[in-house]
Amino acid sequence: MKKSLILFVLIALIVLIIGPYAPYWVLMIGVAIVSFVVGAGKVSSFFSSGLSFGLAWLGLTLYISIKTDSELPKRISDLMGLENESMLMLGTALLGFVIGAFSGLTGTMTRRMIERND
């Protein structure tokens, strides 16, 4: 339980601090490494990483939407054929979850494999 909390916090920090300077796939590698180092269980790695990544992205979209009051999210959701901008936020969060979850799982499973081979 403790490990998954650490994982959650570290991944959120990666997304928020490294995110502005690196594309999302670099973050994926970062998540995998952190998950490798923390070494939580498979299930908790998957959900901790996914929730952390997804919520961090959701938080960012909320922050940007509220701060800017921009028409852009609406324009982009129209362009993508989505009903409204909430769907777009949800989509962003969901994508973040999937990206984070699989990266976290990969990290943990890599560790398991190496440990087993030792």
């Binding site: 979209t61 852009l72 362009l79 990206i99 699989f102």
Partner: protein
């Protein structure tokens, strides 16, 4: 088993990392786009939320200060011109980078690189017209003959490039993110390309269509329906003007005959009718404050990001403000402390076609003056996104590129038409604007104009000293009567242009007695001008309305000029509708249903204005359209391009010769007359409006006309504005039609307490996420303006943002 589980998870993760960053067809790279740190979310910030107060820029001689006003209009305060244009490049790129690059990609036939194979035909056409070829030769010419211009072009390019280098992936304009590509470096060449793009947008010709028409209806009918001068000519240069120069000799060579065969090609798209512009200046004797007032509103395709970008450019020696074209240096339509100027398109046939006879299919030699001359080949490599490059070989003769041939818009082996166009010639239009920006007098204006070749423009002028002037400037070929109206024989040197009209003999006027100068794309002069002038698209309505109003106006204020730019009087309707109603008289009104009677009564009471809430303009528009089709559609033959008589000639024919045999369609059993066609078209109109009333409940003008301002990528519908509520229309001073209209409106009062007003349908920001993307649109639609008077660095009231640039 464990390994398989790991492998599976690893592959899924890897696939997510890769697939989400790739573009599939028109689906953007979804991971990159949605990433809130890097993707589109980052484009939500308006410029006032996300800016730098200081910036270190290389190659600056002195510090430069940029102050933005509340509409995000930047005011650049620099010590010298090189710093000024370096910063102009930087600032323009900061707000309009995607647009300026996209337009030059379009001009050089490189859209396929961005959007894929759908644009290959478009790119081929652009390249066959030789736009990139002519920008290349313009660059060599400017480097060699005008090093001073070249130095400034380089400074501007450096500014753009320093912006591009300073930009992180998250700062990239949204269009790059959606279409998944990166900005490339800017260059002087691209600035010149942009000016060629304007030429392409504004210049057309109908030579091939006229060739077919003459074969179809005969020379006599052609002269009657397509006269060189209209009956009520109200030219740009006042008719009273005396031409006090000795013209160059030119006459049609004896016994010369045009080729007579019909032409079956898919002819090039032409500038849309209704593209045009107004400009005028009134002298102090006609204004309330005694100062000259100048007005300009160029009508172009209405797009977002807006074609224009407003700036003030100040050095220690001059201060100029107005509309810039992102990518070009200086102000294009604007004013400084001493002079103001504006542009309208001076349409004239400066594009001619020559039929080429090649020796054999290799097309390496062609016949000219009874000898075989070598042609050159230019291989155009069109890169295509997601595919291998498309290669197009374009043959060049001494006239220019062979645009139409068996590979392009024609399937016949004997079709080889070479294009000769003034835009292909060496020129430095950029210098004209650089000089106008710092001009102080009428002399300076004339000197600046001497560098201007293409696209020919009517340059209006006013000065603080009280002068007003107008000059039709471009490099105009010296032609014998009728030369270049039809496809010419490329073998015969007699068809060559005979030189060029000297700049000082181009039509111009200074302080005419009538107290105003004006242009609205009509004939430049009256028939007393000693040179042959021809174009298919001269305007016949806006010019007369404008001049009628200017003649009767006195004690003019800036507000009056604003009202005139927004004038919705429909002169064509006021001349044609009474004739059409007369033709209907014999019609039994009892034959009509209640709708027909209602529409008829509406039309009878119409005041001929076209405000957005009026219904009569819709009725007239549809009736005229149906009538026009009824009269002329019989002439159209599939695959054989022609042009139909314009509405001015058609109206005249209806009025004066309603019994003329021209109205009859020989293909039908009955004999059609103006009367029968008017009646039939009226009934068609009733049906159509009834349908609109049933489906849309509203046939008011704005709702019918549906003025739309589209993003440059038409698929990006949510970045566009549809159904803008505004009046006007083609041929009306407020020339706002469905897709075209005043792309910039400017009014300048000269003098010590001079003021300037401007507006355009969009906003200063190119970013659809910014509140400055379209904040001026509503004001524009309502005929309102924002203050664009010159501002000083010391007394800048209420700045929005300030950026200091240091070396």
């Amino acid at each position: 088993m464990k390994y398989i589980g790991f492998l599976l998870v690893f592959l899924v993760t890897l696939a997510l990392g890769i697939i989400l960053s790739l573009q599939f067809g028109s689906v953007p790279p979804i991971g990159k786009l949605l990433d809130p740190n890097q993707g589109f979310w980052q484009n939500s910030y308006s410029e006032d939320m996300d800016f730098q107060e200081t910036f270190d820029l290389k190659n600056l001689a002195e510090p430069v200060k940029v102050i933005y006003d509340e509409n995000l209009i930047p005011h650049i305060f620099a010590e010298n011109e090189k710093d000024l244009y370096r910063i102009q490049g930087f600032i323009t790129a900061k707000h309009r980078l995607w647009q300026m690059e996209f337009q030059t990609m379009a001009a050089s036939g490189r859209i396929s690189e961005i959007v894929g194979p759908v644009a290959i035909e478009l790119d081929r056409m652009t390249r066959r017209k030789g736009l990139a070829f002519s920008a290349e030769s313009a660059l060599l010419y400017v480097q060699k003959e005008h090093p001073d211009t070249y130095e400034l072009l380089e400074a501007y390019a450096d500014g753009v490039n320093q912006y591009i280098e300073s930009m992180g992936a998250s700062d990239r304009p949204i269009e790059y993110k959606i279409l998944d590509y990166k900005p490339e470096a800017w260059s002087s060449y691209k600035s010149l390309l942009l000016l060629k793009y304007m030429a392409d947008m504004l210049v057309g010709d109908r030579d091939l269509e006229y060739t077919n028409l003459r074969n179809q209806i005969g020379q006599e009918m052609l002269d009657k329906l397509y006269p060189d001068y209209p009956e009520e000519n109200d030219p740009i240069i006042e008719s009273e003007k005396i031409w006090d120069f000795v013209p160059l000799e030119v006459s049609k060579p004896e016994g010369l005959e045009y080729p007579t065969s019909d032409i079956f090609v898919n002819s090039l798209p032409q500038p849309v009718e209704g593209i045009g512009s107004n400009n005028w200046a009134v002298s102090g004797s006609k204004t309330k404050n005694g100062n000259p007032i100048l007005a300009n509103d160029p009508h172009l395709s209405l797009n977002l990001p807006s074609l224009w970008y407003v700036m003030q450019l100040t050095t220690t020696s001059h201060s100029v403000k107005g509309a810039t074209l992102p990518g070009a240096l200086g102000i294009i339509s604007g004013f400084n402390e001493d002079i103001a100027w504006g542009v309208t398109n001076a349409t004239r046939d400066t594009r001619d076609w020559y039929a080429i006879q090649f020796k054999d299919e290799s097309r390496t030699e062609y016949l000219y003056d009874e000898v075989w001359v070598k042609s050159t080949f230019r291989i155009e490599e069109i890169k295509v996104k997601g595919q291998i490059a498309f290669l197009d070989t374009v043959v060049y003769t001494h006239y220019g590129p062979v645009v139409y041939d068996k590979n392009f818009r024609s399937d016949r082996k004997d079709v080889n038409f070479s294009l000769k166009w003034t835009a292909h010639q060496e020129s430095n239009e950029q210098k004209t604007f650089l000089l106008l920006n710092k001009g102080k007098s009428h002399d300076d204006y004339i000197k600046a104009l001497n560098h201007y070749t293409s696209p020919a423009q009517n340059f209006v002028f006013a000065s603080k000293e009280g002068d007003i002037g107008m000059k039709v400037q471009g490099r105009f070929p010296l032609k014998w009567e009728g030369q270049g109206k039809f496809l010419m024989d490329g073998k015969n040197p007699d068809f060559e242009w005979k030189g060029f009209i000297p700049n000082e003999q181009n039509p111009s006027t200074l302080n005419p007695e009538r107290g105003f100068v004006s242009s609205a794309n009509q004939h430049s002069v009256d028939p007393s001008y000693p040179y042959y002038i021809f174009d298919h698209s001269f305007e016949h309505y806006r010019n007369r309305r404008l001049n009628n109003r200017l003649r009767e106006m006195n004690q003019i204020s800036v507000k009056d000029m604003m009202d005139l730019q927004f004038d919705n009087f429909h002169l064509h309707a006021s001349e044609a509708l009474p004739v059409m109603l007369d033709l209907l008289d014999s019609m039994d009104v009892s034959q009509m249903d209640e709708f027909g009677i209602k529409y008829l009564n509406q039309l009878k009471k119409w005041n001929f204005y076209s405000s957005p809430n009026q219904e009569e303009p819709t009725l007239f528009f549809v009736w005229w359209e149906k009538l026009y089709e009824g009269i002329w559609s019989k002439w159209k033959i599939e695959g054989k391009p022609i042009v139909l008589p314009n509405k001015y000639q058609t109206t005249g024919l209806l009025k004066k010769e309603p019994e003329n045999g021209l109205f009859d369609n020989p293909a039908t059993g009955e004999k059609e007359t103006a009367k029968s066609l008017a009646k039939a078209s009226f009934l068609e109109m009733v049906e159509k409006i009834k349908e609109i009333e049933n489906t849309e409940k509203d046939y008011s003008w704005a709702n019918f006309k549906k003025t739309s301002i589209l993003h440059l990528v038409p698929n990006f519908k949510s970045f566009s504005h549809f159904n803008v509520y505004t009046g006007g229309g083609a041929g009306i001073l407020n020339a706002t039609s469905e897709r075209h209209g005043a792309s910039w409106r400017m009014i300048v009062e000269m003098g010590e307490n001079g003021e300037a007003w401007g507006i355009y349908p969009g906003g200063q920001s190119g970013n659809p996420g910014s509140k400055y993307y379209d904040n001026l649109l509503k004001k524009w639609a309502n005929g309102e303006y924002v203050d664009v008077s010159l501002k000083s660095e010391a007394n800048f009231f209420n700045p929005l943002l300030i950026t200091h640039f240091n070396n």
